[in-house]
């Protein structure tokens, strides 16, 4: 069907799931992470910044304007909350932390300029961004200047593979797509799936690609691939084509803003098979746009409100107190985590400069975060986190996401392996 998949995977060559690489930190100037055999992470080039006059500047790049504003705003709120928590817990003795927020305009060029601005403002480390395209720009600027970058929601697989200054607190697309493919094939027993991609979103393109690869590897068939563009007002063409292909389920990798109407329209025209998706689905708005049609569908998420672990419940409580409403998207939690990881690393620093911070970040181990336990040590910047598959249920006091299965990447193969739900089971 898609003869060009082979070439498509060109993009992901170099996607070697290195887990054996010891994380650098011992001696950054002599190569840092590159001691591992499979790691291609080059040590960052510049000397970075350091704390000045007792003030540590941490930069945050977020989409304050443009079409990714909802996610950008949540990430800012999350990061500010994490900083407030950190300060309440004592902060770092003798230092004040200054959170410098810059707008990316939701475009890579804007993100690049924002990062450059932060670096010249003296940011020791940068947190951000939500989308992969923007993060790549930030990562490159940071790499040149020698400033570490902690990405919030950038799931693009290749992001952390080449530069040792890049970290993230989310799982990569290769894992997320794999999780949904594994879930579809094994847990739901599906063999023929249609794929619907938002062709404007790098996130959606990447996620669909990774889903398709794993699903085919497992033995499934992709019966049809259709594409739409973010901001489109009708999806009838795509849905008609999908319906004719008679799939057993549809993997829809876009954002919740379009997924709701898509699923509702599909149901209205009699296409009632389950829909599956990624973390872009996470917003209660999906219930008002998708209506009853969306209930019972599944998506992959970082955390769920139903998780009764103390970290999550504490986070939700504080969020409600500070902002008077529940987090709008999953980026609230990830923003919180990214900031928490950065601040924790900062606390382990001695000299409060970028190189020190990078090394401390690369040594983060077993940090309890809202979106799970994060270990960056030995993971080349991408944590080996578990991912949850959640089912959409009617809005209850704890939200609308019922955790169904949890998957953890296998340390050897990198493929998703089912693990107990643990505290995420809720109730």
């Amino acid at each position: 069907m898609v003869a060009s998949i082979g070439l498509a995977s060109f993009m992901a060559t170099g996607c070697k799931k290195g887990s054996s690489a010891a994380s650098g930190g011992a001696n950054p100037s002599s190569g840092g992470d590159t001691s591992g055999s499979t790691s291609m992470r080059k040590p960052m080039e510049g000397k970075g910044n350091s704390a000045k006059n007792g003030v540590i500047t941490i930069g945050l790049v977020a989409s304050e304007t443009g079409d990714q504003k909802p996610w950008g705003e949540d990430s800012i709120k999350g990061a500010e909350l994490a900083l407030a928590d950190f300060n309440a817990a004592g902060g770092i003795k003798g230092y004040k932390i200054n959170l410098d927020i810059q707008d990316s305009q939701s475009i890579p060029a804007g993100a690049g300029n924002a990062a450059a601005k932060l670096i010249s403002d003296g940011a020791v480390g940068i947190v951000g961004e939500v989308s992969s395209g923007n993060t790549v720009e930030i990562a490159n600027r940071g790499f040149k200047a020698g400033v570490p970058v902690v990405a919030i929601g950038a799931t693009m697989t290749k992001l952390t593979e080449t530069q040792n200054n890049v970290f993230r607190v989310c799982y990569p697309d290769s894992f997320q797509g794999g999780v949904m493919a594994t879930f579809a094939y094994q847990a739901l027993g599906l063999r023929k799936v249609g794929v619907l991609t938002d062709n404007k979103l790098p996130y959606s393109q990447g996620l669909s690609r990774d889903f398709i690869r794993t699903f085919k590897k497992l033995g499934g068939t992709i019966v049809d691939q259709e594409k739409y563009e973010q901001g489109a007002s009708t999806f009838s063409t795509q849905l008609t084509q999908l319906k004719a292909a008679n799939p057993e389920a549809i993997f829809c990798s876009g954002y919740f803003t379009e997924v709701g109407p898509i699923v509702a329209a599909a149901h209205q025209m009699g296409l009632t098979v389950p829909f599956l998706g990624g973390d872009g689905w996470d917003s209660p708005k999906i219930l008002t746009s998708g209506g009853k049609a969306i209930l019972g569908d599944y998506f992959c998420n970082h955390y769920t409100n139903m998780d009764n672990s103390p970290v999550v419940q504490q986070f939700l409580k504080e969020w409600m107190q500070k902002y008077k409403s529940a987090p709008g998207t999953t980026m609230g939690a990830l923003g919180y985590d990214a900031m928490k990881v950065t601040l924790t690393a900062l606390k382990n620093c001695k000299t409060m400069d970028s190189v020190d911070l990078r090394n401390a970040l690369a040594n983060i181990q077993d940090l309890q975060c809202v979106s799970g336990t994060i270990t960056l040590k030995g993971n080349n910047g991408t944590p080996n986190k578990r991912a949850l598959v959640v089912k959409i249920v009617p809005m209850g006091p704890l939200g609308f996401q019922q955790p169904v299965v949890a998957y953890q990447p296998d340390p050897k193969t990198g493929l998703p392996v089912k693990v107990p739900l643990g505290s995420a089971a809720g109730s």
């Binding site: 060009s4 993009m11 707008d103 450059a116 670096i119 395209g133 790549v136 720009e137 404007k200 393109q205």
Partner: protein, 419 residues
């Protein structure tokens, strides 16, 4: 490369050639000087801005050739910019590593980028030729929409171009901010447009803008002229795209959204249609404006509402006054300054009053960065309302022009002061 002063009767050719060569050398020297200064004394962020400013100057000046000088209303200039960037993207993906291995010479990155500029110019000029052809039949807004459509087709093709990563985009191999090359390109664009306008050929371009029928009756091949304008304009945009790609280090279709074309178009009109100086200055300043606005502090919501209401009232009053008053320039200027002062006071009072309204004062303050593009848009509208012909109108900067402007303004001011 840059043109000489008006030709005098004593051996104009030799004189012009000498001054031409001198100015070309001067441009190269200046470009390297800019590179040196910005590399030595500015942060990497500011260095990036210096580079990007040159890119936008090139874009604005090259669009001015199509839009301002030849009068062909093109609103898809970013397409050529993107073609340049994607050309170097593809070639660098395929061959940069090999080149790097084969030719280990100093400045090899710069050499590679110059080489890529050559290819970028070829591909984008070819695209410009393709887009220029329909201009044979289309006029005004119809041509505009075709160029817009062409831009969208290019962007959508890039989204589907998996070799370059589709919507995700791809990394560009030699990462280099070549400030000198960017400025040299900008100087070249300025110089070439200026040379063009100084020649009989340039008059042909202008005549197409002014009156196509009269132009063709005077023997101007309109189609050829329009296509030439598109080819020249797009070649510069393509070259700028190559440089931009290597500076951005990562290119994706997102970088080349339709808004970009609008902004470049805005630069041209803002500077004054047809004015090279205007385009160049507007290109640099309109590029810098949103960046400068990064420093805006957070604004309390009440003040913001006050500012919005006050701004509408002030602009309305100013516009009304400036349209209807026939007072002397100096009196007019003084009154307008007065109106602005009153307006600011009004905004402040309004903001203060509004802060007592509970639902408004409870609103979270607005981050400065959220206001950047709003301020940008307001600047556009206000400037167009008060100076629709653009800042420079059709004038070019020259010392003579500056003197004549000063001569016009200064005595009047004295007069105004004495009366």
């Amino acid at each position: 490369m840059v043109a000489s002063p008006p030709v005098s009767k004593s051996n104009p050719v030799a004189k012009s050639l000498v001054s031409g060569i001198l100015s070309a050398v001067g441009c190269v020297a200046l470009a390297f000087l800019v590179q040196y200064i910005s590399g030595q004394f500015l942060s990497s962020y500011a260095n990036g801005l210096v580079f990007q400013a040159a890119t936008f100057v090139t874009l604005a000046v090259s669009l001015n050739i199509v839009n301002g000088i030849t009068g062909q209303f093109s609103i898809g200039h970013y397409a050529f910019f993107q073609i340049g960037a994607y050309t170097t993207g593809a070639l660098s993906l395929l061959f940069w590593k090999k080149f790097q291995g084969a030719a280990n010479v100093p400045m090899q990155e710069d050499i590679w980028i110059v080489l890529m500029m050559f290819f970028g110019i070829i591909t984008s000029a070819f695209a410009g030729w393709i887009v220029g052809l329909p201009s044979l039949r289309l006029r005004g807004d119809y041509l505009a929409i075709v160029t817009l459509g062409f831009g969208e087709i290019i962007r959508i093709s890039a989204e589907n171009f998996t070799f370059m990563g589709g919507a995700t985009g791809t990394k560009i191999a030699p990462e280099k901010t070549v400030v000198w090359l960017a400025w040299l390109l900008a100087f070249a664009a300025i110089g070439l447009s200026r040379n063009l306008l100084k020649s009989v050929h340039g008059l042909a371009f202008l005549s197409v803008r002014e009156d196509e029928i009269a132009a063709t009756a005077m023997g101007v091949n309109i189609t050829r002229t329009k296509v030439a304008a598109f080819v020249i304009g797009s070649a510069f945009a393509g070259a700028a795209g190559v440089l931009y790609a290597h500076q951005q280090t990562f290119i994706s279709p997102d970088l080349f959204k339709m808004d970009g074309s609008f902004i470049v178009l805005t630069m041209v009109i803002f500077g004054g249609t047809g004015s090279i100086t205007g385009s160049a200055l507007a290109g640099a300043s309109l590029f810098y404006l949103p960046e400068a606005l990064r420093e805006l502090p957070p604004v309390p919501f009440a003040s913001l509402v006050g500012i919005v209401l006050g701004l509408i009232a002030t602009i309305g009053a100013l516009k009304r006054y400036s349209d209807q008053s026939h007072a002397k320039t100096s009196v007019k200027a003084a009154t307008m300054i007065g109106i602005i002062v009153v307006g600011i006071v009004f905004m402040a009072i309004l903001g203060k009053l509004l802060s007592f309204v509970p639902s408004i004062s409870a609103h979270a303050p607005i981050q400065g960065s959220q206001l950047r593009l709003v301020v940008f848009a307001v600047t556009l509208i206000v400037l167009m309302l008060f100076r629709p012909q653009g800042v420079f109108a059709h004038h070019e900067f020259s010392w003579k022009w500056l003197r004549s402007v000063l001569a016009r303004v200064l005595p009047k001011q004295k007069e105004g002061l004495s009366s």
